[in-house]
């Protein structure tokens, strides 16, 4: 079975690297980038099961990055990490299509749970698309 693939987007590089190490210790495949622009480049070539995205980043912030990522990959499951006092932004993120938002400092086990849920949702969406494609082929062929 293919292992879960995650992208972490956070300008706090030590935080991102440490999270990544802990996830790799649990057999997840993890990439890290430190800004929104690099995140957009990353998702084009790779199918991620979930993206862990920081809200407050220099330049393109988390909300803008989220919106642009979803315009490229609408089924992408994004978990936003927000600082205290940014709960309104978290709600905005959900309305913009994020899978979930969590407040920093984040509990690692809680984050893993959300990642598993995000992966399940992504897998379900993939199956749905495959099923839709098959139905369409059958319809066109008149079978």
């Amino acid at each position: 079975m293919a292992s879960t693939r995650i992208l972490i987007v956070d300008d706090e590089e030590e935080f991102a690297n440490t999270l990544a190490e802990r996830m790799r210790n649990r057999n997840l495949e993890v990439d890290t980038v430190s800004n929104g622009e690099e995140a957009l480049e990353s998702i084009v070539g790779v199918s991620y099961d979930a993206v862990v995205l920081d809200l407050a980043m220099p330049g393109m912030d988390g909300i803008e990055t989220l919106k642009q990522m979803l315009s490229i990959k609408p089924d992408l499951q994004v978990i936003l990490l927000t600082g205290r006092g940014s709960v309104e932004k978290g709600v905005e993120a959900i309305k913009s299509g994020a899978f979930e938002f969590l407040e920093k400092p984040v509990k690692f086990e809680n984050l893993l749970d959300k990642i598993n849920m995000a992966k399940s949702k992504k897998d379900a969406l993939s199956e749905e698309h495959t099923s839709d494609m098959i139905d369409e082929i059958l319809r066109r062929k008149g079978w």
Binding site: F15, T18, A56, M57, R84
Partner: protein
């Protein structure tokens, strides 16, 4: 000055001053939250390593040292930030203090570093050739510098700097704030509260911009020895 105007001024000072404190505190505590979050995860990494030990693996001294070094760097970063915030808070202690203007401004810019970083702008401070000691309300002086920078920050060209230069001109300390704006600066704002603060510290100011650059200059009298 009649009592109604005086009361309004006091309210404005209180409200705006709290806004200044709030902005600095919010930015610094956000950064501290990031640092604590990182330390929390690094501690978790140590826990992960300890778990492998109980399963028969042996951690090397290097592995443990590497993780503890990373924790140490984050705690040092946090301690520096707390020290700076404490210095800032204590500027409220004395409303007519004598102080080295470079030390005060350097501390403020360090606390504003993250605010500027989010706009992809760097704050640079040029140390004066000689020590400049002023006697004024340090909190009001810092608030003026904060307001001037905060005002121009959204209009500053990304990936450039806001330069703060300290110098002496006759019997005045001069604080100059220069930046390249991104073309969205079309007029200077009214700056009513800013002018109020400037008069409060017996200073005077000059502000201008052209197609490329923005310039703000504040003069504060230097006391005679």
């Amino acid at each position: 000055m009649n009592s109604d105007i005086n009361k309004k001024l006091q309210e404005q000072f209180l409200y705006q001053g709290l806004g200044f404190c709030g902005a600095i505190t919010a930015s610094v505590t956000h950064e501290l939250n990031n640092i604590l979050g990182t330390i929390d995860q690094l501690s978790g990494l140590l826990e992960d390593l300890a778990l492998t030990l109980t399963q028969g693996d042996v951690a090397t001294g290097n592995q443990l040292t590497a993780i503890s070094d990373r924790i140490f760097k984050q705690t040092a970063r946090g301690m520096t930030l707390v020290k700076r915030l404490n210095t800032f808070a204590h500027f409220r202690d004395d409303v007519a203090a004598k102080f080295d203007i470079y030390d005060a401004v350097e501390n403020l810019l360090a606390l504003m570093k993250r605010l500027a970083l989010l706009k992809k702008v760097e704050l640079i401070l040029t140390k004066p050739a000689e020590e400049i000691i002023v006697k004024t309300n340090p909190f009001s002086l810092l608030e003026i510098i904060f307001l001037a920078i905060n005002r121009i920050l959204p209009c500053t060209k990304k990936e450039t700097v806001i330069e703060v230069v300290l110098s002496k001109q006759n019997s005045d300390a001069v604080i100059t704030i220069k930046s390249m704006h991104d073309g969205t600066l079309t007029r200077l704002s009214d700056g009513g509260y800013l002018r109020l603060l400037i008069s409060h510290i017996s200073g005077n100011t000059k502000e201008s911009f052209d197609d490329v650059y923005y310039n703000f200059e504040l003069k504060v009298p230097i006391p005679e020895r």
